[in-house]
Symmetry: C2
Subunit: 300 residues, 2 copies
């Protein structure tokens, strides 16, 4: 087995070993350091306690419409469809995700630099931030297949070399999220527990894991423990609603047999004080479009 | 191709031909004839308009507990597991449904004869009633696979020879139904439209259709039409809650990746004035345990 020289020594979130374990998170969820911004003290307190908070109407109906048309244009573009940064659904060949949109799409590049978004990310992470990953997701009606329970941070740590869970994700709904069309389920409070998952990372794991994750998946026993301790909430609301959630939030989504598709913009902000090392549990880092090494702080 | 001598001439709900069609229902949803019973005028009006109504607390917590223990006992019984009336989940071999429980299980035989249930079925159907089909369903946590959109009556008409949608189903939740653990979705008002489905019924279709339906499935276009006209509601509520729904209600359920299993008792009452003929669109009738030919009226 080959091995990559590691540039770090300490790993406070070991994972992908022979046995799973529940570890207590040693890092904050809301970080001190940035006092001003659009998030109220109550919103930050909720985010700290539950690991997420919801904003209804982050985008206006007109902005949703604009983004939606842009998504339609992109999914129809043969160059984008065949780009390696575009993931298509197994079997149906429908576009499921387009990655790296904060670099390739002017509309989204502008949006994420607006104070209502950028300054809230800074408040939560207590520092300047950059974009670790961005994408637009499209889950079709009738046969959207959902995503099993996981912590994003587990993957970002193991495969991208993100040292600590000092990252926050923003999901902006471009379609109405009903309880029954595959909306994201989250476990409030579970962000304080890191599930160290069993299993070794295969080569080029990202090629399949972006469609269906096979390693870095918590055991049913561990999911049950967290679910019975914390319960489950679901992100629902009209198009334009937004969910801010911690990188270690335990989340998943069911399938979607309704005729109502589900689409969202997904942006991961990481602290500039939490930039990537070598992967903690993989032989080589994932490609740039899923784990950016451009750590330049976002600014207007 | 062999052909069975039909005992009837008129088919007001033709289906399984070469093309699909939306037909207007010519029969009532709530039938006149039985004036007294536990259902209020408002409940009956709601049932008539939407095709279903919900009763919270039809079973007490103690009754739920008793039924749940009985289900556990049955799924552990090797004789029941290997009975042809028991359906196991593809792949996992977990028990998914146990049929014919109104004949094989004393607890359920008693329950369905109680006035709170039997007399409500009579009110809705406007006559004496018998049980067309009964089962206990169990959808496990983590990998419950749900059921695509369909009308039960379409199958009962095509494969069992039920002349008209003068039947009503009762689903009693034995577990809490959340919005996110595979709870039944229903389209209010869609019971007034009969979707005539394309496709011929294969031999012994029931053996696979009880797990995953392949014929008698409405097209995506037709489901979309009904969903955009009527919308979708979901049956949620604590264990012991009950859903009464018309035999032609368009319904389905998503998968269940939560740790919370979902279980229910499912009873189909048919009017004694709507007993079975030869199948309207199949070469032979399905077996007794899915389509009873014992038309004896239920009584206390």
């Amino acid at each position: 087995m080959t091995s990559v020289q590691k540039t770090h020594t300490e790993d406070r979130y070991p994972t992908r070993s022979s046995e799973s374990a529940l570890l207590e998170r040693t890092d904050p969820v809301v970080w001190p350091g940035v006092d001003n911004g659009p998030a109220s003290a109550a919103e930050l307190a909720e985010h700290d306690e539950k690991g997420f908070h919801v904003l209804t109407g982050l985008l206006s109906p007109a902005e949703v419409q604009q983004q939606w048309q842009e998504l339609q244009r992109m999914t129809d573009d043969p160059a984008i469809r065949s780009d390696e940064r575009t993931v298509v659904e197994k079997g149906t060949e429908e576009v499921r995700s387009i990655f790296d949109v904060h670099r390739t799409n002017r509309l989204i590049a502008d949006l994420i630099r607006q104070p209502r978004i950028l300054d809230r990310a800074r408040q939560i992470l207590g520092s300047d931030v950059y974009v670790h990953q961005s994408r637009i997701n499209y889950m079709p009606g009738f046969r959207g297949s959902g995503f099993y329970w996981h912590s994003d941070f587990e993957t970002w740590h193991a495969e991208d070399g993100m040292p600590a869970p000092r990252a926050v994700s923003l999901s902006i709904a471009l379609t109405d999220n009903y309880p029954f069309n595959g909306g994201l389920m989250v476990m409030p409070g579970a962000q304080r527990t890191f599930i160290s998952c069993a299993g070794e990372t295969p080569e080029d794991n990202y090629k399949s894991s972006l469609k269906k994750q096979e390693v870095g998946v918590p055991s049913e026993d561990d999911i049950s423990k967290l679910a019975y301790e914390h319960g489950i909430e679901q992100f629902t609301g009209p198009a334009g609603s937004a969910l801010w959630f911690d990188s270690n939030t335990m989340h998943g989504s069911g399938n979607n047999i309704t005729p109502y598709p589900r689409s969202n913009i997904f942006i991961v902000f990481n602290s500039v004080e939490n930039t990537l090392h070598e992967p903690f549990a993989a032989n080589q880092p994932r490609p740039e479009f899923v784990a950016s090494h451009d750590f330049t702080p976002l600014s207007r």
